[in-house]
């Protein structure tokens, strides 16, 4: 057991930290709404790209630095610590690119990877549907072959950044006569066509991070199939596995920052002397540190044994639950400030409710842990 970083890892952290300190993003735009905010994040991605910091985990042949999983985690910790925005094309960089690296043809990699990294082409994820959430494989959006192209109709939901996107990672049903997991195909759909309508989905925070997609006879060339017809479930799993990997380290640092802010705020109010308040904050500290330890343990298992342990699901569960408890505790400690619209604490309080749903609901995570980690029998459900 050695819980220190190597010289190389520390040098990597120092270099990045130095660069972030010397090259901060512009201040967040005060007005201009979500459009202005997205433009700001796009600009930030461009600066990361120009300095070679857009995706250190990508192999060097694709414009990354080919860093180790540990260094990649350090990268996200530092991104979180510096309180810089997430790059505009985070989904392309974290999900789309790595999926293409595994399943894409040489032509696809050559065509799509460079503009993902530079942020010139934004990517979104068209997986979930109104009737296919946790049970993703039951999705109904249909793609039918017509000559050299596919014609797609259906509806997608929870599509972040769709209004800014050029490409959509779309999973659609191409065969209804086989078992539900087997009849799916993974496509890259051009969002710039009239057959794709984007409707913002206003969430409980009042903003619209997500969208609904209404797809009516959209056209996708056959060359945009990823990983072969009928192989969409496996390709989608590659995307989903990447969903929980890197970002977790940045989110965990943000949780830590929220807690540090809250401890400081409690201190200013003299509440650290209050036994109930002190108890609750100390409990949050134990949880935050457990998350950090479990996340790092999961990562080092990947490096050591080549596969993740059960920690991935545990970390996401514990992080989301803790973020919700922490933002509610902020309400107890800060009072009106945490409940006044427009404050960052009120935003965090509301946004946290999504954490236990997005990227795998807590209920599904518990199923995964029960079945795949503990080996408990699966309850038979109607298929």
């Amino acid at each position: 057991m050695d819980l220190t970083f190597s010289e190389q890892e520390t040098a990597f952290r120092d270099e990045l930290r130095g660069w972030l300190a010397a090259n901060p993003p512009d201040p967040r735009p005060a007005d201009g709404g979500e459009e202005a905010e997205f433009a700001w994040r796009r600009d930030w991605q461009r600066r990361l790209y120009d300095a070679g910091w857009a995706a250190p985990a990508w192999p060097t042949e694709y414009g990354g630095r080919g860093v180790t999983p540990t260094e990649s985690a350090i990268y996200f910790e530092e991104i979180g610590r510096a309180r810089v925005p997430f790059a505009a094309n985070t989904l392309g960089v974290l999900l789309g690119g790595p999926t293409l690296m595994v399943w894409g043809t040489d032509e696809q990699k050559e065509r799509y990877l460079p503009p993902i990294l530079s942020g010139e082409e934004i990517w979104c994820q068209g997986f979930s549907e109104p009737d296919a959430g946790s049970d993703l494989a039951s999705l109904k959006t249909r793609a039918t072959k017509r000559g050299e192209e596919w014609v797609v109709s259906g509806q997608k939901v929870w599509t972040s950044g769709a209004q800014y996107s050029k490409w959509c990672m779309l999973v659609a049903r191409t065969d209804s006569d086989v078992a539900k997991h087997k009849g799916l195909t993974y496509f890259l759909m051009d969002m710039e066509q009239d057959a794709v309508q984007v409707r913002p989905l206003r969430q409980i925070t009042g903003e619209a991070e997500f969208n609904e997609l209404f797809i009516e006879e959209a056209v996708i060339p056959d060359a945009n199939v990823v990983g072969g017809v009928g192989n969409g479930w496996k390709v989608a799993l590659t995307t989903l596995m990447n969903e929980r990997a890197g970002l977790g380290f940045a989110l965990q640092i943000r949780l830590r920052q929220l807690l540090d802010d809250l401890i400081a705020a409690a201190g200013e109010r003299g509440l650290l002397e209050d036994p109930l308040c002190a108890d609750a904050l100390a409990e949050m500290h134990v949880r935050c540190e457990s998350i950090r330890l479990l996340a790092w343990k999961g990562l080092t298992d990947v490096e050591r044994y080549g596969q993740p342990g059960p920690e991935g699901s545990l970390v996401k569960w514990l992080w989301s639950d803790t973020n919700q408890r922490l933002t509610q505790l902020a309400g107890d400690i800060l009072g009106a400030q945490a409940l006044t619209a427009g404050t960052s604490w009120s935003y965090e309080l509301l946004r946290a409710r999504g954490n236990t749903i997005e990227g795998g609901t807590t209920e599904v995570l518990k199923n995964i842990i029960a079945e795949r980690v503990l080996g408990l029998p699966r309850l038979k459900v109607a298929s």
Binding site: E9, A264, G267, H285, E289, W296, K297, D301, N367, E371
Partner: protein, 342 residues
Amino acid sequence: MDFGLTDDQREIQRTARELLAERAKPERVREHAEESRFDAVLWRELSELGWPGIAVAEEHGGQGLGRIELSILCEELGRALAPVPFLPTVLAGTLIEAAGSAEQRKRWLPGLASGETVGALGILRGGTAELVIGGADAQVIVLVEEDGAARALTPAQAEVSRVASIDPTRSTAQVDVAPDAGEALTGEVATGVDRALVAVSSELVGVCDRALEMTVAYVKERRQFGVPVGSYQAVSHRCAQMLLETEKARSTAAFAAWTADADPERLAEAATMAKAAASDGAREVTASAIQAHGGIGFTWEADVHWLYKRAQLDAALLGGATQQRARLAGILAAQTRASPVA
């Protein structure tokens, strides 16, 4: 960064688990608990293998290994609920090693390392230490006061009365002392207590692990309404929660054991965290184990209750979760003052 055990540490773990699976079977644990006496044969065997002295310096007759190795043994003995005074003996040794003078170390540690001397560690309040685990069997008792004062004494220097706790797999005693009884330990008492917290936390990790293992095995077998009860999410999600609590305890205890040897400046924070997580976790996990076993879990024969009882005693030992969090909050407040958040 590497969370894994070394090959040597794995070997210690494997050997301990195999030996205890053989020598501390549930029926043997129950037999000794019912007779309220420890397993002297097993204790002699473990002592001959050098277990009590694993983390004691070689110059005092120990093996001179680290706190991680000690934690491995604590966890395995906790898993097995072995009815031997291992934990109280290593806790007493830990305090004497950290806070004793050269002469005191030389006098006490060889016996504690060889297992010939049984030790105990208690918290002294107003002249009385309650529920001192191992106290009725101990030849040396270390008592720590809340102001950080510590002393070592023999049973002859105190009034030791055996008390039946809810956990009869180990002896417990009330120890009453005169204000000047025994001899003061004037060294690093706080370090000793923090190291002791880590050892207790590790034992609790073993208790959690065993409770989860027994529960998972049971709910796979037990059928109601024609299916294994473990296929119901009300039950399987409870088991998932048990794993989460266990892993929280395990990761914080491992971190604390590592800091004890490698990063002593963080030991106080890490040990406090570990004891808070392990105390709450083990009480919850073992309570869940009884619930998931259903009616059978409430019976004497099912053996789940020993884990619950051990968890209760260890959770209270050297301060429960609430007390640890109060201390942790003090550490955090001091850090906040030292480096205000920008």
